[in-house]
């Protein structure tokens, strides 16, 4: 669970959170979170994003509202969440019980040369989520907190928002399919059945 320098290892964290995920749908923000969920195991219920920076949480909201009985998890990075931070207000007002957002916070823009993000300079995304009115939040830095994080995500008592501080190491790429039509269609078919392709 820990990387060599003592911080949470992002892929071990994501693997632990997704363990026993059942029919949970997972949206991953572009960059490392998309590679992380793919490294754990590519499935039709994964939507790894290749673009749309700032939109991951709102994709999660649209899906959660359309499928209120299904748990939806958005896993994204600190840079992506900061770009769409207003969506925390939108999500809080809608209040979907089945939506969780996990920010894997390495305090850097990892795909562009590891430039620093605002979260490395005291900007607190959990406080911003609470300020938006999301009452159920967690801030995770240690391995012994991860079981609680997983339980909160799987509980379906959202909207739930968590930040996990992770190591900023750059891991080998594990790329999902790049064709967006495949990514969207396979998730629709997994959720809606073959009839989705005839809509």
């Amino acid at each position: 669970m820990l990387s060599p320098n003592g911080k949470l290892h992002r892929r071990a964290l994501v693997a632990a959170v997704l363990e026993g995920r059942g029919d949970m749908a997972v949206i991953a923000g572009l960059g490392a979170p998309a590679w992380d969920i793919t490294a754990v195991g590519d499935t039709a219920l994964n939507l790894p994003l290749w673009g749309g920076m700032g939109g991951a949480a709102m994709i999660g909201l649209g899906l959660a509202l359309a499928q209120p009985e299904r748990r939806v998890l958005v896993i994204t990075g600190d840079g992506e969440m900061l770009m769409g931070v207003g969506s925390l207000a939108t999500i809080s007002v809608q209040g979907p019980k089945n939506l969780s957002i996990l920010v894997c916070d390495n305090e850097h823009y990892g795909e562009t040369g590891m430039q620093e993000t605002a979260t490395g300079h005291g900007v607190d995304l959990v406080a911003m989520a609470r300020g938006a009115g999301i009452k159920h939040t967690m801030f995770v830095t240690k391995p012994d907190e991860v079981a609680g994080l997983r339980a909160a995500i799987h509980a379906g008592a959202g909207p739930f928002f968590a930040v996990a501080k992770i190591d900023a190491e750059t891991l080998p790429l594990v790329l999902p399919p790049r064709e967006g039509v495949i990514l969207q269609s396979r998730m629709r078919e997994a959720i809606l059945g073959p009839a989705a392709n005839l809509e």
């Binding site: 749908a25 949206i27 939507l47 290749w50 673009g51 749309g52 920076m53 700032g54 939109g55 991951a56 949480a57 709102m58 994709i59 999660g60 909201l61 649209g62 899906l63 959660a64 509202l65 359309a66 499928q67 299904r70 769409g84 207003g86 969506s87 207000a89 939108t90 007002v93 809608q94 967006g180 039509v181 990514l183 969207q184 998730m187 629709r188 959720i191 809606l192 989705a196 809509e199």
Partner: protein, 183 residues
């Protein structure tokens, strides 16, 4: 001059907002994302009064593009209501519609268009259609009340049947220009 005369909202006698609402029902639209505009105020009221529609007020219009993507993943149809200035906020997020081939109809009330008073509305108002088209959106434009329902229906049909972003621009000539009492 009354406050109601300052807002660029359709006259109470105009029935096109109700006809748009009827079309949203006919096309089974369940998620209505919006940043308010006076031109859409009556339509918004109709949607809010409908328990089968989820009205989501956004902090910025690009959230609505992402939300329509999620709605479609979950088998629901969405629509985005906004003013022309909001189109500028959507540009990069519209990539999702082309990338995933997602139906994303947008109903846009125009400012900076026909007889505008406010200089700040003009740059984005004049850029609205080229920006949408540059991002692959099929655009219909309605400049008379009689044309609005037909354009909106084509916009919904084209989006849901052919899986792409589409828009109807409702011209300021129809809605009226805000004058802030200076006309």
């Amino acid at each position: 001059m009354q406050r109601s005369d300052l807002e660029a909202a359709p006259r109470a006698s105009a029935d096109w907002p109700d006809r748009i609402y009827d079309l949203l029902k006919a096309y089974n639209v369940k998620q209505v994302a919006l940043v308010p505009d006076a031109g859409h105020s009556r339509l918004i009221k109709r949607c809010l009064a409908d328990n089968e529609m989820r009205v989501v007020t956004l902090t910025t219009e690009e959230e609505g593009i992402a939300m329509m993507s999620g709605a479609w993943l979950g088998g629901q149809r969405g629509v985005l209501l906004m003013q022309s200035s909001g189109v500028g906020n959507c540009i990069n997020m519209l990539s999702l519609a082309t990338l995933h081939r997602t139906p994303m109809p947008m109903l846009v009330t125009m400012r900076g268009d026909f007889g505008e008073f406010n200089p700040a509305q003009v740059p984005m108002g004049q850029a609205t259609q080229p920006v949408l088209e540059a991002m692959g959106t099929l655009v219909n434009r309605a400049d008379s009340p009689d044309d609005i329902a037909a354009c909106v229906e084509a916009t919904l049909k084209f989006a849901y049947n052919t899986y792409r972003p589409t828009a109807t621009l409702i011209g300021q000539r129809v809605i009226g220009a805000k004058t802030f009492g200076k006309d």
